[in-house]
């Protein structure tokens, strides 16, 4: 039987059961519908074969080899050439995109059913391909069709965080590809994807130690594969894709490490996993808004891991001493800018300042701390920025931070953005300041030098205040953001 939703094979139903669930797409099939579907498929298949072959050939399965070869060459192959070209193109298209659980893919627009049906059709005429070349031609076409179908199912599942179904599809795709030198690299790639998904599956089952081991194996597999691929890639196992998938594997490794740390400290490791799930929509927004590369995710996962360590007693993060129920991470960004000074005798000058960036956009109203008084209207001239209201505060916070841990009972936001994006936000802030300076700033450069967790208390649902007088105005109520804290 085949699934009426995706076209993949269905498991044998238990006796007396009326329903059977597809292991590949999760669809619950009524057995009667699945039977009807396979009968319809069979009817179509017979019709197709009748159109393809002379009636004498259809009824015989023991025709001599020469006759079968002749039939395949003159009647079947011309038709299959087209099918093969179509399914191979799709197979390449889907393999030229990364298959990663984090970030989750957008669900593909195509249905896997067409690919499974195509593969089934080709399977039906397999016996006619007697020469080695024809047999290879047919098997490859079936592999292309089935792999495209399983990949589509896996991508759909991953878009919904259904790791189990995705894993099942990748496993099946792998098992259907023979140990053929032409497919070795594809198999290794799928095998690396499988390991990455298996690690996540273990994580969901709270087996953090197994998850960590598998994640490490996954990263090693990608490193090895990248070495093997070298500079002469085949389209379906391309360095560009492998690098992205490797970054996802490394992200999962850090995520597993964080979850394992939580688990060993007696906390629920799924808290970390749920954070990642909740964060993915924020990450998508950041990527779309600021055109950020996927590399950012790896840095964010490394910071998540450090925070998990910091929250379980290990001094792994920089913390500003003080009390508060909520910890917000701030990037410390050193900024240097050049400007024109003087009215008659115009000279060039330069200033340096420390800027703090709340790394929780889009939920902080002005993520860049208003060091130069841009929003309060008290911006000093560029050569006297040390007179600016936030100048000393930012310097003071940056210098007071100490490597420490964060109290277990406090909630902390892991950083949502990378250090590069923090620098970009500072550049934007300086640009806004420059409008106030009427274009006197000629060049600015920023460099993130650290990350500091600052403790805050809630003034109200949208306002956080720190003992040193630093405030963060949120764009949404704090209660809505709790899922983005750990």
């Amino acid at each position: 039987m085949r699934c009426t939703n995706c076209g993949a094979p269905l498991p044998k139903p238990q006796q007396g059961e009326e329903w059977v669930r597809c292991e590949y797409c999760g669809f619950l099939n009524k057995i009667v519908d699945a039977t009807r579907y396979i009968e319809k498929l069979r009817g179509e298949l017979e019709k197709w074969i009748r159109e393809l072959l002379p009636s004498t050939a259809v009824s015989t399965t023991v025709a001599d080899i020469a006759a079968r070869h002749q039939i395949f060459q003159s009647l079947i192959k011309p038709k299959l050439l087209m099918t093969r070209a179509n399914v191979r193109a799709k197979y390449l298209q889907y393999l030229s995109n990364p298959v990663t659980p984090v970030p989750p893919p957008t669900p593909p627009g195509e249905e896997p059913r067409a690919f499974f049906e195509e593969a089934l059709r080709v399977q039906a005429v397999k016996d006619f391909a007697v020469s080695e070349e024809d047999s290879r031609f047919v098997s490859e076409t079936i592999i292309y069709g089935n792999t495209a179908g399983y990949l589509l199912n896996a991508l759909r599942a991953l878009s919904k965080y259904d790791v189990k179904s995705a894993l099942k599809n990748i496993e099946e795709a792998l098992s259907e590809i023979p140990d053929d030198p032409g497919f070795t690299l594809v198999k290794q790639r799928l095998s690396s994807i499988k390991t990455m998904l298996a690690s996540l599956e273990q994580l969901y089952a709270r087996n953090t130690s197994a998850a960590l081991d598998l994640a490490k194996t996954g990263v090693d597999q990608y490193a090895l594969l990248l070495e093997r691929v070298g500079s002469s890639p085949i389209p379906e196992v391309n360095r560009g894709i492998l690098e992205v998938e490797k970054m996802a594997a490394e992200s999962i490794y850090n995520l597993s490490d964080a979850a394992h740390k939580f688990f060993t400290a007696g906390r629920d490791p799924l808290e970390i996993v749920r954070w990642v799930e909740a964060y993915m929509s924020v990450f998508k927004w950041l990527r779309d808004t600021y055109k950020r590369p996927i590399q950012d995710l790896l840095e964010i996962m490394v910071n998540l891991k450090k925070l998990a360590y910091g929250k379980t007693g290990s001094p792994e993060v920089n913390v500003l001493p003080g009390r508060g129920g909520f910890y917000v991470p701030f990037y410390v960004v050193e900024c240097r800018f050049s400007f024109v000074k003087g009215i008659v005798f115009r000279k060039g000058g330069e200033s340096r300042l420390t800027v703090l960036v709340a790394s929780i956009p889009p939920y902080a109203e002005n993520p860049v701390l208003d060091v130069l008084g841009l929003y309060t209207g008290r911006t000093p001239p560029p050569e006297k920025i040390e007179e600016a209201p936030g100048y000393s505060l930012a310097k003071d916070i940056a210098s007071s931070a100490r490597v420490s841990s964060i109290p277990g009972e406090a909630r902390a936001f892991p950083p949502f953005i990378s250090s590069v994006l923090a620098e970009k936000l500072v550049d934007g802030y300086i640009e806004a300041v420059n409008n106030k300076y009427r274009g006197k700033i000629t060049f600015a450069s920023s460099q993130a030098v650290g990350l500091v967790y600052i403790p805050f208390n809630t003034l109200d649902q949208k306002t956080l205040v720190n003992e040193k007088g630093l405030g963060v105005r949120l764009t949404t109520e704090l209660n809505n953001l709790l899922k983005l804290t750990i």
């Binding site: 050439l81 799709k90 389209p235 379906e236 391309n238 894709i241 992205v244 590399q295 900024c335 450069s445």
Partner: protein
């Protein structure tokens, strides 16, 4: 009373002016003052000043390169930078103070990047294999630099990790090659576009959507409705033409090949399409010429008639005048 500035003062003065001009955004002025400082330093007997000659000529070539943004200028700056003590910290106006050793490699890379023609997806079809090779060569070098970013990123406005830039260049090389062969060898073009897609994970969305669109269309293989030949590549080797397709036709023949009928239109190969187009064009031209010829004859007849009428009207006018 005249005060003469010492050599050291003159040198410091030129340097200060150079940095001041740089900070003002007057890069030409900065280059001029750095060159002046170099002149003083290179001729100076003061070993401390003389020692700084290399540094000042580096700054002059560096800012000249930023001004010109040519591969030659960056190459020259890299050459000067390599002559310096690799541990020497340099003030190039950015937040961090890089050493000469770190900066030399960046300048070499900048020279390579600026030697490449700007990639514009709408112009890519005009680019040839030599450009694809250049993209490929520089792309591979940048890949070797890993995921680090350029120290000069703020000055050159290249903020992506070098490996991302490298992958993007490899993707561009594939696009140029695929565009050249897509009509003659669509299967190979599909492979090249697939590779390009894989390399272009961090590319601008318009480039990705171009490749995706090409892949979607090139990956379609169907049969020509007219000649029944297998044909690959929508809008390249076949197009869809409007026709009256009812349910009967769709059900009876739609299954003959994938993509044979789409949105009520039928797939027609390039040969059949151009044959029909040229024939209808020739027929239309022929009938147009016939119609024009007939019109010209009518026009000639009418003109002759008008002339004869005009002659008669003139004669009548003369007769009336005489009376």
């Amino acid at each position: 009373m005249i005060f003469f500035k010492s050599e050291r003062e003159k040198f410091e003065d030129e340097l200060n002016k150079a940095f001041s001009d740089r900070n003002k955004g007057n890069i030409e002025g900065a280059v001029k003052h750095f060159l002046n400082a170099y002149e003083i330093a290179s001729k100076s007997n003061d070993p401390e000043i003389n020692r700084r000659a290399g540094e000042t000529i580096f700054y002059a070539t560096f800012y000249d390169a930023l001004l010109k943004k040519t591969p030659e200028a960056f190459s020259k700056a890299a050459e000067q930078c390599r002559k310096l003590d690799p541990a020497l910290p340099l003030d190039i106006g950015i937040a961090a103070k890089p050493t000469a050793g770190e900066l030399a490699r960046d300048l070499e890379l900048a020279s390579m990047i600026f030697s490449l023609p700007r990639f514009n997806i709408n112009e890519a079809v005009k680019m040839d294999e030599s450009i694809a090779q250049k993209y490929e060569e520089v792309g591979n070098i940048l890949l070797g630099e890993g995921s680090r970013r350029l120290i000069l990123e703020d000055l050159l406005n290249i903020h992506d990790p070098l490996s991302s830039v490298g992958f993007r260049l490899l993707g561009y090389a594939r696009i140029i090659r695929a565009l050249k062969i897509e009509a003659d060898n669509p299967s190979k073009a599909v492979e090249l576009y697939s590779e390009a897609m894989a390399y272009l994970q961090q590319a601008p969305p318009e480039v990705r959507s171009f490749v995706n669109d090409k892949l979607g269309k090139l990956s379609k293989t169907t049969k020509c409705w007219v000649c029944h030949r297998e044909i690959q590549g929508e809008e390249i080797n076949y197009i869809y033409m409007p026709a009256s397709v009812n349910n009967y036709i769709r059900e009876k023949y739609g299954g003959e090949a994938s993509f044979l009928i789409a949105d009520g239109k039928i797939a027609v190969c390039r040969v059949c399409y151009t044959m029909v187009y040229n024939l209808s064009d020739a027929l239309a031209k022929r009938y147009y010429e016939l119609a024009m010829k007939a019109l010209q004859e009518v026009e000639a007849r009418l003109n002759a008639r008008i002339s004869s009428l005009e002659v008669r009207v003139s004669a009548i006018r003369v007769q009336v005048g005489r009376r």
